[in-house]
Point group: C2
Chain length 201, copies 2
Amino acid sequence: MIRVLIAEDMHMIRGALVALLSLEEDMEVVAELDRGDEIVAAALRTRPDVAVLDIDLPGVDGLTAAGELHEKLPSARILVLTGLSQPGVLLRALQAHVRGFIVKDAPAETLADGVRRVHAGERVIDPDLIAAALETGTSPLTAREADVLRAAESGLPTDQIASRLSLSSATVRNYLSNAITKVGAHNRLDAIRIARNAGWL
Amino acid sequence: MIRVLIAEDMHMIRGALVALLSLEEDMEVVAELDRGDEIVAAALRTRPDVAVLDIDLPGVDGLTAAGELHEKLPSARILVLTGLSQPGVLLRALQAHVRGFIVKDAPAETLADGVRRVHAGERVIDPDLIAAALETGTSPLTAREADVLRAAESGLPTDQIASRLSLSSATVRNYLSNAITKVGAHNRLDAIRIARNAGWL
DNA sequence: AGTTGGAGATGACAGATGTCATCGGTCGGT
DNA sequence: ACCGACCGATGACATCTGTCATCTCCAACT
């Protein structure tokens, strides 16, 4: 019997995924979470063999939780489940000792299959995603450039981004200019879109 | 036995929802779709009592499909399932003769329950969503203003938006300026974000 | 010890963006 | 026949953005 922990923020999807896994004879869902910051505690209590984590969770995101979980309970194999396929995210996931990476837009059987294979010690990663990740490569942005882009996302003008990050507004413009050039965009909006799709933010 | 059609683009989620509904004694999933433009044909073939439609589907979106379906097969009651809760979308849904509106972030039982109630002729709408919709009100944007905002979304500069819509670039700036003022934003990026969240695009 | 690269800043400049007043045309309502 | 609302356009203006050259400071390599 494979003991499974599952973390996914949308209740209905989570319920549905649990229903899906419960149909399998050799699996048992031992914990259901809707936030990232409860994962480690729940895992220590329920000792799952496999943890299925969504990436964007309230509290802390799935990848951060994955890193912590690997430290505190190395016996639990981690399988990440993600909606959008952002290549950059895959690299971060691998650094967090994630063993499997499945996109929600895959056939339903893939999940149970992935759980079994990860439990058996295999790595499970969508080949298309590997290709995309290699193509996209690692993020060209420095930490600050990424910070500024993230702040720009909410539509704030340059000077407000500056005060939020305690920077000079001229510096903010420089970072934005660098970021725009690096990702090959024409303006900040474009840059945000590109960086988001690549998973660099 | 309630005959259910289900349309949702992410395979795994769709599979999971089907698994969820199949657990109910009084329901039967008679059709599974992953695109909006196949909904009507599939419905005419399988004659479902209730159609569960996701909003953003490839082909045509769920609401457009809902309108068509209501015309071609009025006996099918429509239940819309959506991820983000964008108040503006609810209004469009009601105009498309949708009988129920459920967000994915609701307990799993809500779905089966919603299907049953819609089948019985009731309307099923999340109370929080109704409140949000009333607060947000109807879109303040004219058709063209919305067009321009949508075109601006991909990060194109003003003159390229203009040529794409066959407008003068000065006109584009006027529409953008109007839109920015109407939604209470400070620049185009801000306006896009606000309009998206409200479901006005 | 020297070099490289990131963080942070300044000043100058061109071009993009947002605002405003104003115009003409069309269409639906009263 | 008239009014109002939307579409489309122009010109002028102020401000915001994006680019570039240049500078300091600091940490990490070699």
